[in-house]
């Protein structure tokens, strides 16, 4: 970690006097309390969160590559077709539920996809934090490679772009493998409204 801080010193100099991410973490440990399913372990940063905070989301290329490779190890890709049911995928993409302190544990979560992405042309109420995914499968096809890429990206976006703002929806336990397959279908199935 010390090595990381030294390298980062050259990349992003935080303003003098600003608390470090470690110090902020200590403050949060004191000032937050567990509620519902949201336990206190969530204020502890992992290596990805720490590096992205320290570098203001611009990590040095070498370090980013190493940590992305670590994240890739978390991605478990099921055998066989990864294309589920796009209709179920649409419902998952619409839902913003899951993992908050007032969500019931055990109830299925959503992917909050429309919060940030444009997907189906039928849904005009979409966010713009992430890129538009309209016509995603139409452009790329649905080869096994593309399926694996989409599945992996949804499972752990940080394996592909370390400081992406997209949650690690599989690795964080938000979505099940079945739900991720349904989202793959929403993006890749030629019958999906995304590809109309």
């Amino acid at each position: 970690m010390r090595g990381v801080a030294l390298v980062l010193g050259l990349v992003a100099l935080p303003a003098l006097g600003d608390p470090t991410p470690q110090e902020v973490e200590k403050v949060m440990q004191r000032d937050f309390h567990a509620r519902g399913q949201a336990g206190m372990e969530r204020v502890l940063q992992d290596g990805v969160q720490r590096l992205c905070t320290e570098s203001r989301d611009r990590p040095p290329a070498e370090l980013a590559k190493a940590l992305e490779a670590d994240q890739m190890k978390t991605v478990v890709i099921p055998h066989g077709s990864l294309v589920g049911d796009w209709k179920r995928g649409e419902a998952i993409a619409q839902s913003g539920r899951g993992l908050t302190w007032n969500d019931k544990p055990g109830e299925p979560a959503g992917g909050s996809c429309y919060n940030c992405h444009d997907l189906s042309p039928r849904e005009l109420s979409h966010g713009t934090i992430g890129p538009s995914l309209r016509g995603f499968g139409k452009v790329r096809g649905a080869s096994p490679e593309v399926q694996r890429y989409v599945y992996g990206k949804i499972y752990n976006a940080k394996a592909y772009n370390l400081c992406s703002q997209m949650p690690r929806l599989g690795a964080s336990g938000t979505l099940t493998p079945e739900q991720i397959k349904d989202l793959v279908a929403l993006l890749l199935d030629p019958a999906s409204p995304v590809n109309q």
């Binding site: 600003d18 608390p19 902020v24 937050f32 309390h33 949201a38 908050t100 302190w101 039928r122």
Partner: protein, 263 residues
């Protein structure tokens, strides 16, 4: 009021009219500008300010919000600030809690049992915030930045804004970090920038049309962290005050014109 709110919500729910949403909000704001629902909360807050409560059966009328005991004029516009008697930086709600536990001798536990209310029954903090913020209309936003603890609070707030944390790896800047972004149809102000912070901070706390609730800055911090999938920040904690302090300092110089109206 309810009807107008319903009509407004219905307009938002129709996708074909989604692009008109911003215009609708503007129209609605103009409509209520002359008689804001926030005024009802201000009146309730005034009654609560003067109501004797707690073991000491005292009102809050001697509460010192920084301008002297009982002085309300421009007090909100100068918060958060350092208070010597508590040896810490406090925002309005934290200071009110301090006055409840000292002047009224209420326990912290009792006074914070219900910090965020509902449409039917606002919390004490919501009504009091409406009343006290209203006494700052026309005053320049000028939070404390002279004391060492005020500078430290501002710096902590700035660092918290950028701390990536929680089950979904978000920081405040994940949503409020780039110009021109939206969540669904909701535009997201880049709150580290004075231009954006000024407009926002000059109108909080506010009446929220979609839920018919009066919402405060402590509520805003709490509900952002909920959506960030972290555990819950404690009401009046240094964390919530530091974030509010950072945002308010970023907005300084703006004339306060709240309590405002939100979607």
């Amino acid at each position: 009021m309810k009807l107008a709110a319903l009509g407004f919500a219905a307009a938002l729910a129709v996708p074909a009219q989604a692009q008109d949403a911003a215009k609708e909000i503007q129209r609605y704001r103009q409509m209520v500008a002359e008689g804001s629902p926030a005024e009802l909360f201000e009146l309730e807050g005034e009654a609560l300010w003067k109501k004797p409560q707690g073991p000491k059966n005292a009102s809050l009328e001697r509460c010192d919000l920084g301008e002297g005991p009982g002085v309300l004029k421009a007090a909100y516009a100068h918060l958060p600030r350092y208070f010597k008697d508590a040896d810490r930086v406090m925002d309005l709600e934290t200071r009110l809690l301090h006055c409840m536990t000292t002047l009224q001798a209420r326990t912290r536990e009792e006074a914070t049992k219900r910090v965020f209310g509902s449409a039917d029954r606002p919390s004490e903090f919501e009504s009091l915030s409406a009343y006290i913020a209203g006494q700052s209309r026309g005053a320049k936003i000028e939070p404390g930045m002279a004391h060492a603890k005020e500078k430290a609070s501002y710096e902590l707030g700035r660092a918290l804004y950028l701390q990536r944390v929680g089950a979904w790896d978000f920081s405040c800047a994940s949503c409020h970090g780039d110009e021109g972004k939206r969540i669904r149809m909701q535009e997201l102000p880049v709150l580290q920038k004075p231009e954006a912070a000024r407009a926002v901070m000059a109108s909080w706390p506010a009446y929220r049309v979609s839920t018919s609730q009066f919402i405060t800055l402590q509520w805003r911090m709490n509900d952002c962290y909920r959506q960030m999938r972290t555990p819950e920040p404690t009401f009046g904690s240094e964390t919530t005050v530091a974030l509010i302090h950072f945002l308010t300092v970023t907005a300084r110089g703006e004339t306060y014109h709240g309590p405002g109206n939100k979607r």
